[in-house]
Amino acid sequence: MGLLSDPTRRRALISLLTRLNTPICAVCYMAGVAWFMGLAFEPFTLRMHMSENAMGSTMVEERFQAGERALVTAKEFGVQKNKAGGMPVDWLVKAMQDRGLEVFTQSFSRTLPFPDENKERFMVKGTNVYGILRAPRAPRTEALMLTAPCSQGNDNNQAVGMLLVLAQYFRSQVYWAKDIIFLVNEHDLIGMQAWLEGYHHTNITGMEWSPLQGRAGAIQAALSLELSSDVVTSLDIVLEGLNGQLPNLDLVNLFYAFCQKFDVLCTFQGKLQRNDWDSPSGYSHAVQTMMLMVLKQASGHSWGDHGLFLRYQVEAVTIKGINSYRQYKTTTTTVGRLLEGMYRKLNNLLERLHQSFFFYLLPSLSHFVSISYYMPAFGLLAAILLLRALNLWVELSAPPATEDGVANVEQQSSSGVLSVVTPLVISHLTGVALYTLPVHFQEMAVEHFPVSETEAVVLTAIAVYTAGLALPHNTHRFVSGEGTEQGWRVLKLVAVLYLAVLLGCTALLNFSLGFILALTLVPVAAGVTPHMPKFPTACVMVVLSPACTLLFSVFAFHELQETPLSFQDTWLLFLSVISQGILDHALYGALVFPLLAMLVYPCWLLFWNILFWK
């Protein structure tokens, strides 16, 4: 601090920073991107290790043998499901009761704000069935959970079969220290949300559900099971939850440890594990896996039923059985043993899972990147904004060229405040319009245009977004004629600091989202001035706007998944992603849509406004 309090040295430092501002910013940006790409490089990652001592090595032999019976039960369930034309509630209740569980049901209903065209549903009514296996000599204070969604068609029958057979096997064991809840939920995430809200007796999303009759205390961990074929070649683990929350890394370790124990092929983001870290192809494989995770996390969508648990401090993952045409096959018995092993270890837990990391990125299942390694990548990008702000501050505090007197300064400052506040207010009002209008105006849009409700919502959103660009954002033309040189500097200073705070907070909660937004928004924020050529700069700005970022992300996601899309398909998918984002917000309380609409987009509009200052 002595350096800064000495005026001469301070002046020298500041002049250095202002003189070299642009090169330093460019270096920071490149360093940030390079750091991020380097995260997947093996020497920079940490090896996975189990942090929770209670789940350390145990000399337990798994004895589950009823794999064949699980498939038979699954078939029976499939028959009953077709007969009932949905969830066979009575059959499930009977099946669980016969296996010695305490069985309860919960009915729920929910009207979506607009029809979900991907899943073809609008008015959702359903019933969850769950059975509680009471642990002997335990006082009902702790529970573990296994869920299997009852999906449409013949999907996921095997998961329900496995759940029932596991319940039967677990019931005849004496070593349980925690109750185990077996849940079959209807309508995927909506049913899950209803059950979780019922269990915790909260109502976050305005859903209607009947109160639960049976409970088992605090849920310590949960697994969601998705098996859709009799043959399983590999198991995939899904981690990304609502708002980019991740489960404790120990749960991932546990899964990986048991996959290794039973020689089961396990994949992450649909990608197999590789051992050739040193080779370029191994590195690119790791980068792709990590990028997929980043994109999925940034979406804030719950990628499996487990994603909704995380809000309630319940660590959960989804385990998916994959049947791709590989030679290697895993028997259902092995899958059952793997689950048995995981539950026996979770049963040993003395405290909630808290020892390991909650913030991490995975380039593979055997290595991870902790928060202390990936945060500098974002820090370097955020530093650009601060450097820019410093530069603007210095420019503003330098004595003005004309020295007219005190009165002039006062007038300037008052018009300056107005020229900052007006665009702030107008752009935020546009943001609020973008947030509220699409859902509220769908009926009117459907009446006047030949579109369905969902299309109406998405198209209204795009219309409001585009209209926001055309709005006059400042009043200085009407108040004081010309926008002053100082005026845009003040506005840009405010906007840059605003963006820095916004991205900083986002990155703390959901690193991936913060980083992706920073990648596109920081160059705009750092570079834009009113003196640039209008048309090319405007084109670049639109390309780097939040909506286009989303479009690129959708495209990149499918490229990385090795399912490339044509531009037409990408566009259609982009539209459905928008509607999905709005639905996620309404149904589960996902925050990405309001964040983008009410904070990020208005912030970007401020920079747009600076470009068209004169």
Partner: protein
């Protein structure tokens, strides 16, 4: 498939010792209860009464003492009303004599002594003990009702195991050498779904005139065995299968030693009938004091096989459960649900809640609703907590309408403890003890007491004098509540360090931003200053 049974063991010692045991079918468990009653004229003369307890009673001027150690939760909906209700963990309630001046001091000393006797860690002091005003009345003679002499405390987390069973068995007159106690082999007893052992001491009348009083000691043991796990789903059990022992003789000191087997569902030998907790049951009786009971092999093994696979159980009329609502670490809501399953009669219940101080209850948010309408409690006794001194006590009398669910809710805030107050496993959560529901429940079964005359002891064990209602005490499940917990690990230190650095850095930066720096003249040297002072005195302009 869910066939399970109830075994109720009853050891009764009355002047001369008598022992009884009852076996009863349950929906999904095996239940056993041991009981032992003793009367002695004076506590200076120990024949059957254990001296260790006698000395405790006289030293601490105890009027009544009830202690229970329980592992597991009694599942009322599956197993019916409990014969000997007890909450999970340890429970202790004591009435002191009026002569005790320092009740709190005596109480904490007494709990320390009892911890030693029962090998338990009963850390009871004023932080977790309360004085219920109505829920726990003295069970023996004497009409003391001043609740200043009552202390009640529970420890929901106390685990019960062999080390607690051994001292309990040693209090029996024959130890585990003879009589029914032979069956109590810990290896088998702890392979069960529920285990509860208790000791009750109270003053009773010596005879009908009640001229002299004596002490009664009851030792009870409840165990529920799970036939689903051990019996491969068959409804069949035997003493040998359950305890891996058979009976050979009664305790020679016993005046009566009997086994009662509940055979209500396949009654072929009808020997005794009684109305137990509002339900008419049939028992067959095996008297261990008779030689003929043991037959030629001189060992008794009972094997009961049921013809039908489904058991009959009267649906419990009163049932209660409790849970924590809400999910954030700032606040929450305790919900207590009380079910009255009686088709047409309403009855009042007393609800007692003991909530530790680290949950800050907001009593103005207390709401009692049944059938969607507000239900005003006719009596409320509330003592607010004091941080680190005493817990909340909430007691209320609520009328439960027929066939209804009554919900009691109250909001609370979770407190951030001082960092030394956290236990070694703070992420496990903090326990809140069971709430106690006590009530006189109207009986559905019409009373027919003819059969019970055969067995007056049995009758006295289940006090069913009043024909229309019977007393029930229920305990809800304990709660495990997460409090905001710092991450006591490396990242925690890092966060502390970072915060310090940021705080220091912020201060300096703020200083730099708000101050205006100007270059000042350097200070003149000492000699120059002295010269200037002299020049000033001389009236000459300074250098």
């Amino acid at each position: 498939l869910g066939a399970t049974f109830l075994l109720f063991l009853l050891l009764l010692l009355l002047l001369l010792i008598q022992k009884h045991m009852i076996v009863q079918p349950l929906l999904s468990g095996f239940f056993q209860c041991g009981r032992h009653v003793e009367r002695a004229h004076k506590l200076s003369h120990y024949r059957l009464f254990p001296k260790s307890l006698g000395q405790v009673i006289s030293k601490f001027s105890v009027r009544e003492l009830h202690i229970s150690l329980t592992q597991g939760y009694w599942r009322t909906m599956q197993w019916g009303q409990p014969y000997q209700p007890s909450p999970p963990g340890a429970e202790l309630w004591v009435w002191f004599q009026d002569s005790v001046t320092d009740v709190d001091g005596t109480w904490s000393e007494l709990t320390n002594v009892l911890s030693g006797i029962f090998c338990a860690s009963l850390n009871f002091d004023s932080i977790n003990s309360i004085q219920p005003s109505a829920s726990f009345k003295p069970l023996g003679i004497g009409n003391v009702t001043d609740h200043r002499f009552l202390r009640y405390a529970t420890l929901p987390r106390e685990t019960v195991c062999t080390e607690n069973l051994t001292p309990w068995k040693k209090l029996l007159p024959c130890g585990s050498k003879a009589g029914l106690a032979v069956l109590l082999k810990s290896e088998k007893l702890f392979h069960s779904s529920f285990h509860s052992q208790a000791v009750h001491i109270r003053p009773v009348c010596q005879d009908a005139q009640c001229a002299t009083t004596s002490w009664e000691l009851r030792q009870t043991l409840n165990v529920v065995f799970d036939l689903y796990v051990s019996g491969q789903g068959k409804r069949e059990w035997s003493l040998f299968k359950m305890f891996s022992r058979t009976l050979t003789e009664a305790c020679p000191l016993a005046s009566s030693s009997k086994i009662y087997v509940d055979v209500s569902d396949n009654s072929e030998v009808l020997t005794a009938q009684a109305v137990v907790l509002g339900d008419r049951r049939t028992f067959s009786v095996y008297d261990l004091t008779q030689k003929s009971t043991f037959g030629t092999t001189s060992s008794l093994n009972l094997l009961i096989r049921w013809k039908s696979s489904d058991a009959h159980m009267l649906r419990p009329l009163l049932h209660a459960e409790r849970y924590v609502a809400g999910y954030r670490l700032q606040s929450g809501e305790i919900h207590t649900l009380m079910y009255n399953n009686h088709p047409y009669r309403s009855f009042p219940v007393l609800l007692l809640d003991l909530v530790p101080w680290y949950l800050r209850l907001y009593i103005h948010t207390l709401s009692v609703t049944s059938k969607g309408k507000t239900n005003r409690p006719s009596y409320i006794h509330y003592e607010p907590s004091k941080d680190r001194v005493k817990p909340h006590t909430l007691e209320m009398l609520v009328q439960l309408p027929p066939n209804s669910v009554t919900e009691v809710t109250v909001h609370f805030d979770r407190i951030l403890l001082k960092w030394t107050e956290y236990p070694p496993d703070p992420n496990h959560g903090f326990y809140v003890g069971s709430s106690v529901v006590s009530s006189l429940v109207p009986s559905i079964v019409a009373m027919d007491t003819n059969a019970t005359h055969e067995c007056p002891l049995f009758n006295s064990f289940f006090p069913s004098k009043e024909e229309t209602s019977y007393f029930v005490r229920l305990y809800t499940e304990p709660l495990l509540v997460n409090l905001p917990t710092p991450d006591f690990s490396m990242p925690y230190n890092v966060i502390c360090l970072t915060c310090t650095v940021v705080a220091v850095g912020y201060g300096s930066l703020f200083n730099l931003l708000t101050r205006n720096f100007q270059i000042g003249e350097p200070r003149p040297g000492v000699a120059k200053r002295i010269a200037n002072v002299i020049r000033k005195m001389r009236g000459v302009p300074p250098l």
